[in-house]
Amino acid sequence: MQDKKLENTIMGKIKTGQVKLKSKYVFIAEKLGLGTAFTFSVLLSVLFFNLILFYLKETDNLKYLSFGKFGILAFLESFPYLLVVSFIVFIGLSGYLITRSDVSYKKPFGYLAVGLVSFIIVFGIISTYFNIGQSIERQARTGFAPANMFLKPLTDMRDNGVAGVVFEQTDDYLVIQTPHGLRNIETEGIENLPEINKGDFILAVGDRNGFDFKVNQIKIVDKENMGAINRGIDFKFDKNLDDKNIKNLPSNMMFFNKEDKECIKKCFEEKVNPRNCFKECHK
């Protein structure tokens, strides 16, 4: 009797239209949506993995660890946290979406997870041959906001480390070209200072003070291992330092020698317009 009651209640709701079949298109859309979301999250995981590899290989980040405990701060400061967090988020999302799809039907999640992670790692490595990282790096340097956000540690000036090509060298300081312009590197009092020549690529740890950098430890590194820093330097100097742009650059981004410096200093003291000072002193 009770059974009939339930049967009649449900059939009554169906007949009166209170309960309706969901359209088949809802299910098709659901499957398509799930498939698309899964594909995108896997592609983004591959992209972020690729960018992490690119960043670690082409920038100064990992190289700071060669200074031992002195390089830890510089390493932590230049670490691409956002890339790593995004990679973890998207790989987690891919894992979640795969459990919601038919692909995972009755399959052990452990195997699926291993398969998914392997796929992302393999394709992440393969995609490094397509210079995706370099193209995103270029966009970051030209100010494209999303690229700039993810590669911020690459474009930001570091407080505890610096890398660049020696442009000028004396006993007490170096002037190096960096992706942020020319920087003064104070080497005074450093023990075991290696023989550094103009054109050497140096990596140093220490403390930043504006555009100056007080070195604790310094070493000459292979230019080839600093692809992104080199490109940053080329971008800063080759493209920007032409006749049209030179007057817009701040003093510490310009090429200047000791006499120029003194001239600029004197000119400033005379309260002359700084732009005219640069024009007059840098001839």
Partner: protein, 186 residues
């Protein structure tokens, strides 16, 4: 009508013969009601959940893959609703009827280990206190007489895992009953 397979009935319903859904309800009402009784002791609650299950199943009929087993699909819906109910109402005790009680006694093979027969409430207590991960496949295996393949369909876990969980579940029941029998003996 009886000769028609569930999947054929579903196909006909989708081809606008809505009245045939009555047959689905007739076929599964008792089975699902018994299954849901493992999630709730309250008859009214079971009836409410059952109604939700049949309505959800009807609404989502286009989501059912005709190439798969309908029984597993509708059990899956019932299972999910049962779990939702358990989340709302904690400490639900499993109630066994006499037949089910004997079934556990036989299938777990307790008597070989101990001479003492168990009270129904002992077995109910042991089943209720078990981790859901073991309880769910055990209920489907013992009381719904489902094969590992069908349980695997309902719980969406690999067949091998079903086997492992049932084996571990059985030995857990056995261990707990042995403990109880020792307590009784004291």
């Amino acid at each position: 009508m009886d000769q028609l397979k569930d999947e054929q009935i579903v196909e006909s319903i989708l081809n606008d013969d809505k009245e045939l859904y009555r047959e689905v309800i007739r076929r599964y009402e008792n089975k699902l009601s018994r299954y849901l009784s493992k999630f709730s002791n309250n008859k009214d609650d079971i009836e409410d959940i059952l109604q939700i299950v049949f309505i959800k199943a009807y609404k989502n009929l286009y989501g059912f893959d005709i190439n798969k087993k309908f029984s597993s699909w509708i059990y899956r819906i019932a299972h999910n609703e049962g779990i939702n109910h358990l989340k709302k109402q904690k400490n639900v005790k499993i109630a066994l009827d006499d037949l089910e009680y004997k079934l556990i006694d036989e299938k777990v093979d307790i008597k070989k280990e101990i001479d003492q027969g168990f009270l129904k409430k002992d077995i109910e207590g042991v089943m209720s206190s078990m981790d859901n991960k073991y309880k769910e496949p055990l209920v489907l295996f013992f009381f719904e007489n489902m094969s590992y393949e069908e349980i695997s369909d309902v719980l969406r876990i690999p067949k091998n895992t079903v086997g492992t969980l049932i084996m571990r579940g059985k030995s857990q029941i056995k261990e707990k009953l042995i403990e109880i029998s020792k307590k009784h003996a004291r």
